[in-house]
Amino acid sequence: MIIPHPLLGPRDASEFVYLGDASLIDRPDPRAADALQQFHDYLYLRDNPAGEHRELWFHEHGDRSWLVVTRNTLTHEITAVELAKKVALERGRDR
């Protein structure tokens, strides 16, 4: 599988490490009243879609950037790749 890196162009998937669902960016607020329930859901509850999936990949043997890759789990077709840093900032995270 080839991942089209937004800065470096096409790179083989063996240069990357897979982390998981891109929703891991949305870490709950530990000061919330129901923080325990929120962290339970954050840690254990995942959708398992047959089709389009947004997921986090780390370019370990490369520029060490985190990417949000939109991949079809049925065909492995990759339709979008963004820097996770940019996605996190857009979602209101401070870094």
Partner: protein, 202 residues
């Protein structure tokens, strides 16, 4: 402090060998420092050096050719140069910068192997997954990638000259992989044309 007289030992003891049309040499007498921007101050690195800051995947070189900045990843660069005092390389980099950043001397962590010659691309094709065509990876291009299961930095200094940076701890294993690739290219170029045609490598 005791007055030691220690001699630096390079990882491959000054290795140099010609295999076919490719000259392999260990590069010594260099210093390598990483410079990382503090969180949220990525732009600080841009104006920090007299040498222009390279984009990720590129390198830039000073007018005297003595200093090269390698753009390997966002928010961080590697500097390849020769320090006035090899024991104070990081201090020299920090003093040359206009803004504060995290400077780490990595000189002794790496082995630098230079590959030069007409057959350098056929040799690298057997090791490296990147597209090394002139258009995709021109002189000055740099990248970190995987070769022989090892994380390697590849820099194209000139058309037919590449520098490979490999962790010092695996210097000999990596050298073995490069030698094997170069010997394979040499063997195949010596085969009769009929054999090459059968293998589809002519």
């Amino acid at each position: 402090m005791a007055d030691h007289a220690l001699t630096a030992a390079s990882p491959l003891a000054g290795y140099a060998r010609t295999i076919g049309d490719v000259l392999l040499t260990e590069v010594g007498d260099y210093n390598l420092c990483s410079v990382a921007a503090p969180l949220g101050e990525d732009e600080a690195l841009v104006d920090s050096f007299d040498v222009p800051r390279p984009a990720t995947g590129q390198s830039s070189i000073s007018t005297d050719g003595a200093t090269r900045l390698l753009g390997l990843q966002p928010d961080q660069i590697l500097i390849l140069f020769r320090a006035d005092d090899p024991d104070r390389a990081a201090d020299q980099v920090a003093a040359a910068m206009k803004t504060a950043a995290y400077v780490t001397d990595q000189s002794d962590s790496w082995v630098l192997l230079a590959l030069e010659g007409a057959d350098v691309c056929p040799v690298l094709e057997r090791l490296c997954m990147l597209d090394l065509d002139d258009a995709a990876f021109p002189a000055g291009a740099v990248s970190r990638t995987v070769m022989e299961h090892l994380s390697v930095i590849i820099l194209r200094e000139r058309d037919n000259r590449f520098l490979l940076f490999n962790p010092r701890s695996s210097a000999r294993s990596f050298l073995h992989a490069v030698e094997t690739a170069a010997e394979t290219v040499l063997l195949q170029s010596n085969e009769p044309v009929s054999v090459r045609h059968r293998r589809g490598t002519s």
